[in-house]
């Protein structure tokens, strides 16, 4: 019961925050130098089409009415037509959203699991060589510059030894071929996903490892660990079943706190690997002055971040029975 109320309250909060972000974006798009009409209407449209679009977005109306139109349009998913693709922005982005979510969630879950696993071992062997190596390795990976790491991965794994494709998400020939089954297509996507995924995991697991290590060190001092030892349980059981689950909780918090950082990294990774996701679309639209696409891509990313935050919070409450909202 408590959890349900908590989620409801957070949903209301998310709605409020999203509303503020929307409003700020509206103000910025109107404040920026230049003509707001030219920013939302493709200059290459016929005058008749342009007039229809302007009317549907209320661009011929006073600012206040424009704002109401804007709210209505965002709510109904009508966020203009992309200058570059000539299609409704929302269709393009909804097409990209699953790709982003696939790469983003897989990378976060895998790097958190890896961080928890290695951090557990590092803390268990504290002060020994394994610990030192792991801590330094984690620090090193965590501070690598992501776009550069991505380029190096492409250079080494795709260009020098040719294990993985250089760019993209699918190979056209597999997808055109009607004989290729579901398994072949899945494998093809996984093959393309390997490099971006490895890049993201390498960048992210380090901070989780460090969090897990220090939290595990704290946990190992707790009384119930001493009790477990006194009961004569073997070391592995103590480490994996008594200490680790409790020590992993701060990692969940840390995943939540680093979500914005992960989204930045996701956009960079998508761009370098030409992974057809929302982040790449945002970068692309900004460099091509495709304003409707940029605005919508940003709003969708904002929703993704807010929802991901909520998911992490709920997960935390679920994992820690002491937390009741």
């Amino acid at each position: 019961m408590g959890l349900k109320r908590f989620v409801l309250r957070r949903l209301v909060e998310i709605a409020v925050i999203f509303f503020v972000i929307m409003t700020v974006l509206f103000v910025l798009f109107r404040l920026a130098p230049g003509d707001p009409v030219s920013r939302m209407v493709d200059p290459s449209m016929t005058p008749e089409d342009a007039r229809l679009l302007m009317e549907s977005m209320g661009l011929d109306q006073p600012l206040w009415t424009q704002y109401l139109y804007y709210l209505k349009n965002v709510a109904t998913g009508n966020m203009g037509i992309s200058f570059h693709y000539g299609e409704p922005v929302i269709d393009i982005l909804m097409n990209r959203l699953p790709n982003t979510i696939l790469l983003f969630t897989t990378s976060i879950i895998l790097s958190a699991l890896l961080g928890v696993f290695l951090g557990k071992i590092a803390a268990w062997k504290r002060g020994q060589r394994t610990d030192t190596l792991m801590t330094i390795g984690a620090l090193f990976c965590h501070t690598l510059f992501l776009p550069w790491l991505a380029l190096m991965m492409i250079w080494f794994f795709a260009y020098r030894i040719g294990w993985f494709p250089i760019t993209g998400m699918v190979s056209p020939d597999v997808w055109i071929d009607p004989g290729a089954g579901f398994a072949a297509r899945t494998l093809d996507v996984l093959h393309h996903m390997a490099l971006p995924l490895m890049t993201l995991i390498l960048i992210h697991f380090g901070s989780y490892l460090l969090v897990m290590r220090s939290s595990m060190l704290d946990t190992l001092k707790d009384d119930y660990i001493i009790t477990a030892r006194a009961k004569g349980l073997d070391e592995k059981t103590i480490r994996d079943h008594h200490a680790a689950p409790n020590a992993a909780l701060p990692v969940v918090t840390s995943v939540g706190l680093s979500l914005a950082f992960s989204i930045n990294g996701g956009a960079l990774t998508e761009t370098v690997f030409t992974w057809p996701g929302i982040g790449r679309e945002l970068v692309f639209s900004v460099s091509h002055s495709d304003y409707p696409l940029a605005q919508a891509a940003f709003l969708i990313i904002a929703i993704v971040v807010l929802v991901a935050n909520l998911v992490v919070d709920v997960l935390y409450a679920y994992l820690d029975p002491r937390i009741r909202y």
């Binding site: 130098p33 380029l151 930045n264 960079l268 970068v283 002055s289």
Partner: protein, 314 residues
Amino acid sequence: MSDASLPSPKPENTPGRTRPHWVDRFLGGWEVYRKNTIGRIGMALLVLFGLMAATSFIPQWVDPMYHPMTGVDPHISHSTGPSLRHWLGTDFIGRDIFSQLLAGARIAFMVGISSALISILFGTTIGMVAGYAGKRTDLILMRLADMIMVMPTLLVVLILSALFGQLNIWVIVLMIALFRWPGVARVIRSQTLSLRHRPFIEAARVTGASHLRIIFRHILPNVMPLALLYMTFRVTSAIIIEAALAFLGFGDPGTVSWGMMLQWVWKTGHMFQAPYWMLPPGICISLITMAFYMTGRAMDDVLDPRLREEETTP
């Protein structure tokens, strides 16, 4: 350049009475810091990068063709590998990569430190005010902080550059700072909360000190070490965001930063042919981030005795 614009980090401790206390504390901290291997490595790397930044004006002074932005070797019109004339080779139009690397160090320090100073200034002030004032002020400020904290800074700056065109390097610095204060504010706020009911604050209040005086004269010196610690972490994130922005092609076109160099390698399609060009800027960005991060962690050990004990007992 950047050094001249730096305000003194501790403007509040000028009266003579508190100075010895500060010096003592600093020297004591330095003793602990010196014993920390990670801290020593970080500091050594920072000195190295500092030297790079300090010597960045020398190449172009030797010969204008070594100017990182405008200097072009008259005999070279494509990217060439390392040679005596160009220690790290040249880029696609014959500019010297080594002198670009040195200039990049200067930009990295400039961006990192000035942006971190601004965000620390905001974060510390807002955190202290929120923690001290409590009630509605606290609630509003922290909600604002939460809201900004969930936004991915890089993408926000990206959207702004879409609207306002190419951003000047100082605008980028300011943007990064404006979106990076909430984390600092949260930490400073909780520290302030724990200080608020200490006897010396109560005593100051009883003697009739104003709120501003209590905040800046009594609370600030106590949260200052924590703020300085967070500054090192903000430096890294500012450097990374600027580099990423430049890498994506939205940096200040008038500056040569390491991110910009990587963008040139990437956009001109030299990433497979010119390792001598792709490796140095990437290594530099990664190492300077690591150096600041290591310094920060070592400072953390100095500030938190609990961690220090854990590190020494095996």
